[in-house]
């Protein structure tokens, strides 16, 4: 290389970046004040935040947590400044109602226990280092929760749980295994005709529930009258009601939704048409009309004389509603799968259900997690609609509280409390679904 005077031969020492482009100053310059447009936006946003906070914080911080009525609140607020401040006494007085509904002080342990049990039950679903066997609690929980909340003799949940157990035993003990194949008469019959086993597994519990369960539990109650005091559905209210409806609907609608999605995707024309009709009908009408059906019409469709609980009717409708939406979400997941997955399952000679269980569903459900969770969130939010048909969910309670002379005129405080209640649940659900999505993505 020729020596040229004006070409530098050695590298210069690295210089640190100018102080205005690193650290806090650099970050602010890059993210908030790059260009005149962004600077204006930043200033407007800062002003907006400032003006919201300057009005909101004194209002939120008013020391009225011990007040017994709205007038008392106003006195406290007037003593401090010109009277603008929240009235939090209503929350102090009424929060048990917002959480547990109308259970009296002596019975409040029952919903508390149910909440605790619910937490324990969903823990293994949410946290994956807990032993998998704990998932069995999912089967036990509905029986315990119903018994604790509504009360009644201890025998009816036990006996009806026995039906479930009977079905499981039928399946488990009569299932033809490789080493018993062709040994004994009935085993041979079952291994030749596996559908008999399926029918038996379904039929035995149904026979048990419809003919044997009630007399058995009645006679057991006569002998050993152990149980809890029966409480009417009127007692349900607040978050307890929302959770009862929401959790039950979520619990039952997922399997129903998966079945509907499979039905809609199936080659069987009639099954497909029935599923499409059902899904499109439910998705085509607002939930509130279905709740009207639940409150006024459902008893007309049942055999004369049946009169079942309004909460149960609402739960049925909300479950069907959520199942139709889930079916569409799961169908999206199924459609998102590569055709190769179906072809691969067929090539391996998997039966339809085996292919679904082992190959298709795990992938399809994984794709549709965001949709499934947002449907769950939607369902949980939609439980507030029951206030329109007169049930006392948190939103219905706000109306009831305003009807009280002491709190007539309290608007914001209780509504904000309810909003925060729902926000906590829905927001954590959506965050959890994001976490789950990331976790499942990492595995691949």
């Amino acid at each position: 290389m020729k020596n040229v005077l004006y070409v530098r031969k050695e590298m210069l020492a690295e210089q640190s970046p100018p102080p205005s482009s690193i650290g806090a100053v650099g970050w602010i310059k890059q993210n908030l004040f790059n260009g005149w447009f962004n600077s204006i936006l930043t200033l407007i946003s800062l002003f907006l935040i400032y003006s919201i906070l300057i009005n909101l914080i004194p209002w939120l911080l008013s020391p009225t947590w011990q007040a017994n009525s709205l007038t008392e609140c106003r006195e406290i607020n007037n003593a401090i400044k010109d009277g603008g401040g929240a009235c939090w006494g209503v929350i102090t007085e009424r929060w048990p109602q917002f959480i547990f509904g109308f259970y009296t002080r002596d019975e409040i342990w029952r919903p508390v226990l149910v909440f605790l049990f619910l937490l324990i039950t969903i823990a293994p679903v949410l946290i994956d280092w807990l032993p998998r066997k704990l998932l069995l609690l999912l089967v036990v929980f509905p029986y315990v929760a119903v018994w604790l909340l509504w009360g009644g003799p201890v025998w009816s949940p036990l006996v009806s749980f026995l039906g479930l157990l009977l079905g499981y035993c039928t399946w488990h003990f009569l299932k033809p295994t490789a080493n018993t194949g062709g040994a004994v008469g009935h085993v041979q019959l079952l291994s030749k005709h596996p559908f008999i086993l399926v029918i038996m597994t379904i039929a035995i519990p149904i026979v048990w529930w419809s003919f044997l369960a009630t007399p058995l539990s009645n006679s057991l109650t006569d002998i050993f009258p152990w149980g809890l005091k029966v409480l009417p559905s009127r007692n349900f209210g607040g978050l307890l009601l929302s959770l009862t409806i929401g959790v039950t609907a979520i619990f039952f609608s997922l399997p129903l939704g998966v079945l509907l999605a499979l039905g809609r995707q199936s080659d069987l024309l009639i099954v497909k048409v029935l599923c499409v009709w059902f899904i499109e009908f439910i998705r085509g009408v607002p939930l509130i009309t279905l709740l009207f059906v639940a409150s006024t019409l459902l008893n007309i469709f049942m055999p004369p004389g049946t009169n079942f609980d309004i909460i149960l009717r609402v739960v049925i409708m909300v479950t069907l509603f959520s199942a139709a939406y889930l079916a569409e979400v799961v169908r999206g997941g199924l459609a998102g799968l590569d055709t190769g997955q179906y072809e691969g399952a067929n090539a391996l000679g998997f039966s339809y259900w085996k292919a679904q269980r082992l190959i298709i569903m795990p992938q399809a459900l994984k794709i549709s997690i965001p949709g499934i969770v947002s449907t769950f969130i939607g369902i949980f939010k939609d439980t507030t609609l029951v206030s329109v048909i007169g049930l006392m969910d948190p939103l219905g309670l706000t109306t009831a509280i305003r009807a009280d002379m002491a709190w007539n005129g309290v608007y914001w405080e209780i509504n904000i409390f309810v909003a925060v209640l729902f926000f906590v649940f829905c927001f954590s659900m959506s965050r959890y679904s994001m976490y789950l999505e990331r976790k499942l993505q990492k595995k691949n």
Partner: protein, 419 residues
Amino acid sequence: MAEQENFQKRSFELSMLIYDTRYRSTSIQVIALLIFFSFVVWLINNTAANMAVSGKDIDFSFLFNQSGYDINQKFLEYNSQSTHLRAAVLGVMNTLVLSAMGCITATILGVIVGIARLSKNWIVSRIMAVYIEIFRNVPLLLWIILVMAVTVESFPRPNAFRGADPSATMKLFDSVALTNRGIYLPEPLFSKGLGDIALFSNSFSISLDLMVILFVLISSILCIKKIKKRASRIQEATGERPTTWYWVISVLVIPTFIVLVILGFYLGYPELKGFNFKGGIQLRNSLIALWVALSLYTSAFIAEIVRAGILAVSSGQSEAASALGMRPNRIMSLVILPQAMRVIVPPLISHYLSLTKNSSLAIAVGYMDVTGTLMGITLNQTGRELETLLLGMSIYLCISLMISSVVNWYNKKNDLVGR
């Protein structure tokens, strides 16, 4: 070969209905159909028995009886002497008006929020994230009730506008009155109007003036399309696009303006008479509350859709466009948006659908949509649960099916062909 013949010759056995795939699907379908029909028959039997017990029958003639109740927000002639059917039709109109208003504002707001959420400005994108999370995670019914409370509590009462020194004044050059009973807007009137055409033996009327104006507007828009097409043709032939904006504006404005002058257009301002405002268009505060709450709530969802749609266009597209030397706003309008639209539009329309269905929450604040009239007061007055609910549900079903057929059409048109 021999085996195959052997197989075909195997005579039909009963067990083949279950184990032979040729027959299995048929037998499953027959069983499904049987179960379905027996379920339907069971339902019908129960219903008939229950109706017989309570002495009711299925009869839709109540629709032609006098309704006896008033509807406060109406876009058609209606009074308490009108029939239940007319009340239902007004309810449907109220539902559609509310939904249309909500869809428009929710889309505008949602697009702004969605784009601002992607802003490089940290503070703006954080604020938008908070906005989205707050509105998505709190039930819609709560928002409706809160906004209703705001309109009732914070707007002045009509009598605050009275007197020499009123505590409240009308806004926008004395044309708009914000009161706690609703918002009063000036209404368009015609001094030399053409009158109305009555339809269905005077039960509905259509304003001829409106039809004329609409006709002129539509033909102007068609003309503008022609002008633009011509400009494109010239651009393709010569490479230079003729300036057309003054043509476009004059074609759009001048004919409409002339028609308005001929018809004698003027604005009828609301005036305080007695205890309330008279004249002008009144938007009840229940309508305002629903409109605002539905727009805010749905806009949060639309913002997420818009954001997802823009993010779905791979960054290579915008990089390639800027490598070709395109300006940022051109990249947005010519490269990113057309591709993002394919992702955005189907969920957007399904959110319009859910907005329409959510408008049934109107019953919580007393806005008389079809849930409030047909499935609310009419149901309570006539006691015909089955008929009113069936009718109401089928109205919603029709609206939904129409909207979802639009989605299907769009998907079919824009689907990328896969295997």
